[in-house]
Amino acid sequence: MKRAIPLHEAVELIPDGAICHVGGFMGVGSPHRLLSALAQAGRHDLTIVANDTAMPGRGIGKLISAGCVRRVIVSHIGLNPETQQKMIAGEIDVELVPQGTLVERIRAAGVGLGGVLTATGVGTRVADGKPTVEVDGRTFLLERPIHADFALLGAHRCDYVGNLDYTLTAHNFNPIMALAATTVIAEPEEIVPVGVIPPDAVKTPGALVDHVIGRMD
């Protein structure tokens, strides 16, 4: 059983310089309370692995605006001009990864694979400096796993075993990131008693979840 922790305790778990997987897609499905609190706490030199950096004032965008982030590994920054400005100013390193490759690289770290062999990016700039592997006459890029210190997840419901479910397009990277970090912190929209989420509806088994952020005061 996992006791839910207050938001400020979750924030204290995450030090400056941490590498964080952050769930969400343009802010949908992100752990919004946790991201806001991290921005307010003035964390710095974070590495953020996520689909995108949302937009200014929303989700990961708050961390970008507050100067918390040193590096991002993302598929897209097109809707956050601040990320682009800070990239050009040399304040943030940006590694752009094709979205499907990004999710597979995170999954590889989570399920113990040595890397990802993908056709995506072959012959493009994405292939620069990367090894290739031939399988049955076809060429694939070897893309490396991405593990993180923390996975910061937005979930729909959570029980006190730590089981999570997700809803609609708020799934996105969350279920995969739950597998690929040393410490997994979930921010659910709702906490429910054990047994309310039936076994077939659980999408992240509680064994993967280290901390659950409690209800708002």
């Binding site: 689909n51 995108d52 995506t120 994405v126």
Partner: protein, 222 residues
């Protein structure tokens, strides 16, 4: 007819009944407006829904149901929520029948560039590289020129999205099919002649006999 509407209407005619389709944001997303519901087409958005529906009436939006551009959408009956691994599993595993994407350049080899302009615009590739590499069929829907400069060029000067040859280019002037032999002019838009297309295209075009005019009506349901 406005250029983008014309393009969207023409692309809509390429969509087979019952197929699984991903529409890029912007112009490509307009294609859905010209598809009869009876076709039973399912739209997939890479952020995690199969069975994307129209924007809901005001006040009925759900913050957890958006398209890949972050706009509110609805879910059609029989829709499925999926995570990013399944979403890109569908895309990269060859399960997507068609993707319609915007383009910055298409070249004589049928290569697409649509994710960055070095030194000027670096939005990132999002799912574009996966879509072009993985979908069964790739249609590029774009304006024929940008500020008067041809976007269909002998060789892409912008970074490629994929080395896969795309299947069709639809613009407000023409329908062009990249083939092993080069770019074949398949159709011209109403009021546009072959020479007009050639003048607006930097790459060589193969013209084989009379070029028919684009059909723009809705495809017939089956």
């Amino acid at each position: 007819m406005e250029a983008k509407e014309l393009i969207a209407r023409r692309v809509a005619r390429e969509i087979a009944p019952g197929s699984l389709v991903n529409l890029g944001i912007g112009l490509p997303s307009m294609v859905a407006n010209y598809l009869p519901a009876e076709l039973g087409v399912f739209f997939q958005a890479e952020n995690g829904v199969v069975g994307l529906g129209a924007r809901p009436p005001e006040g009925m939006e759900d913050p957890n149901l958006t398209d890949a551009g972050g706009g509110f959408v609805s879910a059609v009956p029989g829709a499925a929520s999926i995570d990013s691994a399944m979403s890109f599993g569908l895309i990269r595993g060859g399960h997507l029948d068609l993707t319609v994407l915007g383009g910055l350049q298409v070249d004589a080899a049928g290569h697409l560039a649509n994710w960055m302009v070095p030194g000027r615009m670096v939005p990132g590739m999002g799912g574009a590289m996966d879509l072009v590499s993985g979908a069964k069929k790739v249609i590029v829907a774009m304006l024929h020129t940008q500020k008067g400069r041809p976007k269909i060029v002998p060789e892409c000067t912008l970074p490629l999205t994929s080395t896969r040859r795309i299947d069709l280019v639809v613009t407000e002037m023409a329908v062009i099919e990249p083939t092993e032999a080069g770019l074949v002019l398949r159709e011209t838009a109403p009021g546009i002649g072959v020479d007009d297309v050639r003048a607006a295209t930097a790459a060589a075009l193969i013209v084989d006999g009379a070029v028919p005019q684009m059909e723009l009506g809705q495809p017939a349901p089956v």
